[in-house]
Homo-oligomer: 339 residues x 2
């Protein structure tokens, strides 16, 4: 029996939180690469919060996934056929496309990576888009200096873990915010943050105790009540790196429409000379992937960078895992083992 391509499609646009019925699982023929293209077999699929945005038919920085099309995502796997001179069957690569077993891609964002050491799944996490997001956002916006205080929300998540560890390497005091004592223990004991606050508890009181000096850099992954608690605590010249606001991704009709929940009064931005800046890693990140990866691999070899992955088995389980991701149910970078 010839192999087929297992694909997960967007069946309908979610209203609020996605449900399993928003997705469809289909089997289709394995595609063939055209001239200059490469056929990749996915070993791991990355699941990331930004995908919620692609499910909505709203104007955004990237086009939505069409109804009936394969869900957008990045995979790591191996080349099984190539019509591009730089890639050959057997090459292990980062850069397959979509929630599917096989994908045909061009060479633009396809990178050869080690098959192991570090394990391939790390090329979707600490050494992949989330790690690159952390690295680019700190390089370009956060710019933490030794001795400064950095607060990271979603600290045990794919991006947050890397943000905090790079800030520690830079000599900062780093305080994470995460949901629950298990995640907080991990953030402090395994990642080496100076402290971690549980947003299920009284965040104001915990912030009073943990950062009485105020905050120089806040890495924003979540929005909502965490943002409201952190915002008044900036020191002069503080930077708020706007990476995402996952707590608000399921909002209808969209965060900038009428009826969206309010944000902070911006008065302190003037008085404290704050900078609030958003970014999307795909704007400028991938051309810097080599530089990023070399630096990160150096820190890994030196034992200064650790990570945790939450691996779900089976592509068919991707929708349920993704729905859980939006609720904070994952613990560490969420990836799907495709086979």
């Amino acid at each position: 029996m010839p192999e087929t391509n297992l694909q997960i499609l967007l069946k309908r646009r979610p209203v609020g939180a996605p449900v399993p019925e928003d997705f469809a699982v289909v089997e289709t023929p394995v595609p063939e690469p055209g001239d200059g293209q490469v056929l990749v077999r996915a070993r791991f699929l990355s699941l990331d919060p930004y995908m919620r945005g692609r499910m909505a038919d709203a104007k955004s920085y990237a086009k939505p996934v069409a109804l009936g099309a394969v869900m957008e995502g990045q995979t790591a796997g191996e080349v099984v056929a190539s019509r591009h001179p730089d890639f050959a069957p057997g090459d292990v690569v980062l850069g397959g496309y979509g929630w599917q077993r096989f994908s045909v891609v061009g060479p633009e964002r396809l990178f050869k990576v080690p098959a192991a050491d570090p394990p391939l799944s790390s090329s979707l996490g600490v050494l992949g888009m989330p790690g690159l997001t952390a690295w680019v956002g700190l390089e370009d916006i956060g710019q933490p200096k030794a001795g400064e205080t950095v607060v990271v929300s979603a600290a045990s998540g794919a991006v947050g873990q890397v943000v905090g560890q790079i800030a520690k390497i830079r000599g900062c005091k780093v305080v994470g915010i995460a949901g629950g004592s298990k995640k907080c223990d991990f953030v402090v004991k395994e990642l080496g943050f100076d402290a971690c606050l549980d947003h299920h508890g009284d965040l104001d009181a915990q912030l009073d105790a943990a950062v009485p000096e105020g905050i120089d850099v806040y890495w924003e992954n979540v929005g909502g009540k965490v943002q409201a608690a952190v915002f008044p605590r900036f020191r002069d010249f503080g930077r708020m790196v706007m990476c995402g606001m996952i707590a608000q991704y399921n909002e209808a009709p969209g965060a900038d429409a009428a009826g969206a929940p309010a944000g902070p009064n911006l008065g302190p931005v003037v008085r404290k000379r704050l900078r609030i800046q958003g970014f999307i890693v795909s704007d400028t990140g991938w051309p810097r992937y080599g530089t990023f990866r070399a630096q990160m691999e150096g820190w890994i070899r030196e034992g200064r960078l650790h990570w945790r992955e939450d691996v779900v088995d089976g592509l068919r389980n991707a929708p349920t895992a993704f729905i859980g991701l939006l609720k904070g149910e994952n613990f560490g970078k969420l990836v799907v083992r495709v086979d």
Copy 2:
């Protein structure tokens, strides 16, 4: 009869909008300069919104004026006595201090300026702190590029007039927002903005019509409902230059305290990669005063820079004029002719 120093003191801290009874007018002896100091006789006093902040006993970027102390402000006038080698009696200078006829100052922020051509009062406006504020904020944060759309609130005010005209010189489409048709007519006909919107009218509808393409740079002077109408209209990579939020300066207990009016939902900051940044001109502006002034005087000679001043006669009238400034009653840069 020997001359005396007429001074206006802060008698009590205002609750909400300042009232005349918050100030005291006193006559005191003319002070004498110490070693390295200069005695300046004020011809003009600048009145600016930031002074409201100095009247409050809140933590801010600058210390509040002490109760019973002379109100903070900048004057232009002439040197009447000098114990500093760089200054001599008769020199015309920008940089006297306070709501008073005579002040003793050091040389740090004291600049010799022309006695006329342009008129001395302009050294407190287009060629003074407000003009420098506009110039620094555009240089460092707004960075408008030819063809971009720039929206300026408080467009007929001391800072707004300069912001819009520099943006026009840079090749931008410039739309002002001001209160009332008289101010809007001035902004379009005398300053050369492409359009001016009256915030007493339906601002949403006016913005729909004036900037259907969206906004690249928003110069924030006012906050409140103007900010709320403008914020959702940013284009990708938009910049919000946070210069002030005069509509909220009389708020108690302060814009970052509990109960402060909410600001915009920050979701679009990520998706549109916006930058929201505050600044205070005194952080970095005065060492660049010479560069700024040379460029501005060039534009004035070329007829590309115009301005309007609202001159109030008599130092005793400064409190009433300042109270009006916070209500938007001035029309152009507000200065007091001291004599």
